[in-house]
């Protein structure tokens, strides 16, 4: 096993090797830190790397394994945190010049849970400013590139997280998803990303208007389930946090025969690239091999983009309430064009959106009375050029700035669990993913279905040449 092989081990494999003393957390961490030094100048996944902290964590884990007995769940497993999430004592830029030197004195409870589980903290991964778009470029750290093709974007807003996984810079990465920001980069980068049910992972700042969710990204489903086990569970810091669920890592061992699966190529409104359509259709059909009943069906609901637009855009603008003019020159100008629109919406517009959102939820809920899962393409296209705000079909002044992610944002509105699962490559060699969405709060079935698909069509062996 050479150093690169170590970098591409899964968390589950690392833990097994640590336990059997075939590998030490310090060796693994050193290999990954070396990998970051070697490839990250080209990929630019990290805004901030914390090598000393990582080695300290690794030595502590090494001692724990040496002592034997019970070690914490993620002892010695290197991971990264997205730079939108405050981390105590570690610079957190949120992709913004305004926060370029911010060192928070707090972090959300899930970060503490990851630390307490013995994880090795590698650093903070890149994000567009405030997580505003599905590409990862900002004025603090620049552009993150897709390891499969450095001309392309890894997607966003958790683009740094996905690129880090793809390039072997840590087996686990935390992502956040307000309109698709875990699933877009997971699909574009060929890794697994799970947006959990709203409240599964507690995050302070949640409000009934909120669309954002935090979740795990990994190169394997089992790793994501393990990470979610650590992050999930109720906490008073989040009014919406859900009760503790049984272990996802254990649950994914089970089968999925007999599940009723709806497959939709377009949800009735999306336009999908033909090559992506072919790959995702073939992938959905394979669930029949797993004993599922696969039917072509969708909920028959209109594209909810307008609801997402107002809630997402006003939410983005909320950070600068009362001082937008003052900070405008320092903001990402593409983002500024969008959040300037927020001032034009009234209470009536907002309430209309909220009531429609409740209706949308009812429609989706009714659909899931018939089906256990809904499978769609994760994205309607493969990765586009890095550095653009949107795919080339969208005009720079468009108000439909996220409408090209038609499969992801519906499930930010409803809060349902939704994962992006790699399912192949285009002829250009770019990854394509399917999206598996489950019933509200039924993260377990989504993860289990993803794991069984992974058994049939494993992807984690594929490595980009860097």
């Amino acid at each position: 096993m050479d150093a690169t092989d170590i970098c591409y081990l899964s968390a589950v494999e690392l833990i097994a090797l640590y336990r059997s003393r075939q590998l030490s957390p310090v060796e693994a961490t050193e290999a990954i830190l070396a990998r970051i030094e070697e490839v990250d100048p080209r990929v630019n996944a990290f805004v901030t790397v914390t090598p000393e902290r990582a080695l300290d964590d690794a030595r502590r884990a090494e001692a724990a394994y040496r002592e034997g007995g019970e070690t914490p769940t993620l002892a010695g497993v290197p991971l990264s945190i997205k730079d939108l999430v405050p981390t105590k004592g570690i610079r957190t830029t949120r992709g913004s010049l305004l926060d370029a030197d911010w060192v928070p004195d707090f972090h959300p409870v899930f970060v503490q849970r990851l630390y307490d589980a013995g994880a090795v903290m590698l650093g903070k991964t890149n994000t567009p400013e405030g997580g505003w778009k599905g590409e990862t470029t900002n004025r603090v750290a620049g552009t993150t590139r897709n390891p499969w093709n450095l001309e392309k974007t890894p997607g966003g807003s958790s683009g740094g997280a996905a690129a880090a996984l793809t390039a072997g810079m840590g087996p686990l990465a935390q992502g956040g998803d307000g309109a698709g920001s875990i699933r877009i980069p997971a699909a574009f980068s060929g890794v697994f990303g799970h947006k959990p049910s709203f409240g599964r992972v507690p995050y302070p700042g949640s409000s009934p208007l909120q669309l954002a969710h935090c979740g795990p990204m990994a190169r394997t489903v089992a790793d994501a389930a393990l990470m979610l086990d650590v992050m999930a569970g109720p906490d008073s810091s989040d009014r919406f946090s859900l009760a503790k669920a049984p272990s996802f890592a254990e649950d994914i061992q089970g089968g999925i025969a007999g599940l009723r699966i709806a497959w939709s190529l377009d949800l009735g409104y999306a336009t999908v690239d033909p090559e992506v359509a072919e790959l995702t259709t073939a992938a959905a059909r394979r669930f029949e091999e797993l004993g599922c009943i696969v039917e072509e069906a969708h909920p028959g609901l209109d594209d909810p983009w307008e609801m997402v637009d107002i809630l997402f855009t006003v939410g983005q603008a909320g950070s600068y309430a009362g001082r937008l003019e003052e900070v405008a020159p320092q903001l990402d100008q593409g983002r500024l064009r969008q959040i300037e629109r927020a001032g034009h919406w009234s209470a009536v517009d907002m309430q209309v959106a909220l009531l429609k959102r409740d209706e949308y939820w009812d429609g989706m809920r009714a659909f899931f009375e018939t089906y256990d899962l809904l499978i769609t393409p994760a994205m309607p296209m493969a990765a586009f050029e890095a550095g653009r705000d949107f795919p080339p079909e969208i005009d720079e002044n468009s108000t439909n700035y996220l409408k090209w992610t038609p499969f992801t944002y519906p499930f930010n509105l409803t809060g349902q669990p939704s994962a992006a699962v790699p399912c192949g490559f285009t002829s250009e060699g770019l990854p394509v993913g399917i999206q598996i969405t489950g019933r509200w709060r039924d993260d377990a079935t989504v993860l289990r279905a993803a794991a069984r698909f992974e058994d049939l069509a494993p992807w984690s062996g594929a490595r980009p040449s860097l």
């Binding site: 009934p208 008073s236 909320g318 001032g343 009234s346 209470a347 909220l354 409740d358």
Partner: protein
């Protein structure tokens, strides 16, 4: 207390015990309550719609259920439902002329659970138009009068429910509370009311009414625990609802020892203006928690009056009823409410986001405060009940009032989502009820109920108002 043995005065827990022993039949009890309604409700006006035939049908079914030995948890117990809750097949006016003849085709999760548990449905209780104020006057059938003094308001917006329970016109009543609407009438009518934690009792639609919580209004704490146990728990129609897994009544029966709890008492939360007599009565009630073995400390979080954020949230929630037809329907609305809606139309989406940010800050401010305290006590209301059919008290302690600004003890906990109950704790020299508010940690409704039951044991309150119609005002 002279009415204590009348069937319409018995608590639900007592009725159920006697039903089980076959000492009493749901039909007799329902007859007695319906007779009481016929006698008093023309004066009190707690009901906008009565369903006596349905009640008798439910009572007969409950009787059979007891005979078969398979009664539901509230089988044969007479229940009133607030008219803001749409009820399948039963007229639901929402206190609005626009819905004076509205018969919904869909019900709500909590009422479905009560039906499933065998309740006797008495009818729908009076509320101001869409619950917009702390009095229960409306243009359909209001106002509801306070059984303790018919010139005074029963409070609102669950005023019909409060008055019905106080006067023995219902054994249990459902209320809802968006800015105090369970606790205001509970305090004014001298009954127990609990606004549960956000989402414990599911409600729809959820996105535009997240500050509003459904809960029990009863004469005893145990009855509220029973009603809560039946109605609480996750329903997929409300994606913010959750299950506690707690049988509240069973827990209260197991014990009400609250000794050793750290309890904060605040006479004003740092911002409220309070009538001196109400303040004194509430404070002496709070002091009694020392007799219960609690450590009582005068304290409150260091935060501003959250009214500006609450006003935005409440106003836009009211506006969501008239998003495209305000001009068309304006003449049929309550003119006082039209003013509120006009204001709501000037609010921007960004104002809403700012209000939500403050809402979130309030949650965290109180979460940190509650790390030090198990419970917080305050007066429930800043004043005794004011004139029936008006919008609000003209003054409190000599100070002029604003729209709902005088309910500062109440709306605070609509924002934080914490469980908050009102327990009767005395009467003014004018004979008007005063309530003590007991607030718990987020999702710890049980400790609030347990504390209320402990207080009830040492300071029992009169169970039934003696309505003046029995001895007309002189």
């Amino acid at each position: 207390m002279q009415h204590h043995d009348e069937l319409w005065a018995l608590p639900a827990t007592e009725l159920i015990a006697r039903y089980r022993r076959r000492e009493l039949s749901p039909v007799e009890v329902t007859d007695a309550v319906l007779a009481r309604i016929e006698q008093l409700d023309p004066t009190i006006n707690a009901y906008v719609t009565r369903t006596p035939e349905l009640a008798m049908e439910n009572a007969r079914a409950a009787e059979q259920a007891y005979l078969r030995g398979q009664p539901g948890a509230v089988a044969g117990v007479p229940v009133a439902i607030k008219d803001l809750t749409p009820t399948r097949g039963i007229r639901s006016t929402f206190g609005s002329l626009l819905y004076a003849d509205h018969v919904p085709e869909e019900g709500t999760p909590d009422v479905e659970r009560l039906i499933e548990a065998g309740m006797v449905m008495l009818g729908k209780t009076t509320t101001p138009e869409f619950g917009w104020k702390g009095d229960s006057g409306n243009r359909v059938n209001g106002p509801t009068r306070n059984p303790w003094n018919l010139e005074r308001t029963a409070g609102g917006s669950s005023g019909g429910s409060g008055a019905a329970v106080a006067a023995g016109l219902a054994t249990l009543a459902q209320g809802s509370d968006g800015a105090g609407s369970i606790r205001i009438p509970a305090s004014f009518c001298g009954v127990f009311g609990l606004k549960p934690t956000t989402g414990l009792v599911p409600r729809v639609p959820s996105s535009t009414s997240f500050h509003s919580h459904i809960g029990p209004m009863t004469r005893t704490v145990r009855d509220a625990a029973l009603l809560l146990s039946v109605t609480a728990g996750y329903d997929p129609r409300d994606r913010f609802s959750w299950s506690s897994g707690i049988d509240y009544l069973a827990e209260i029966e197991r014990g009400t020892d609250i000794s050793g709890l750290r309890v904060a008492w605040s006479p004003d939360l740092g911002y409220a203006t309070v009538d001196p007599e109400v303040a004194a009565i509430a404070e002496s009630a709070a002091r009694r928690f020392e007799e219960l073995g609690c450590e009582l400390i005068e304290a409150h979080p260091d935060g501003p009056d959250p009214w500006p954020a609450m006003e935005v949230i409440f106003a836009v929630s009211q506006l969501s009823r008239h998003l495209d037809d305000l001009e068309e329907v304006r003449d049929r609305l309550d003119p006082g409410r039209v003013e509120l809606l006009e204001y709501a139309r000037t609010i921007s989406a960004e104002d809403i986001m700012r209000a939500h940010a403050e809402w979130n800050r309030q949650y965290h401010l109180w979460r940190e405060f509650m790390a030090e305290y198990d419970l917080v006590l305050t007066p429930t209301m800043a004043c005794p009940p004011f004139a029936a059919g008006t919008h609000r008290p003209e003054t409190v302690a000599g100070q002029p009032t604003t729209y709902l600004g005088w309910t500062g003890f109440a709306y605070q906990f609509n924002l934080t989502g914490q469980p908050a109950a009102s327990v009767p704790c005395g009467f003014t020299t004018d004979g008007l009820p005063v309530g003590l508010q007991i607030v718990g940690r987020y999702r710890d409704d049980l400790t609030v109920l347990r504390a209320a039951a402990a207080f009830e044991a040492i300071a029992p309150w009169p169970q039934i108002a003696t309505p003046v119609v029995e001895s007309p005002p002189g």
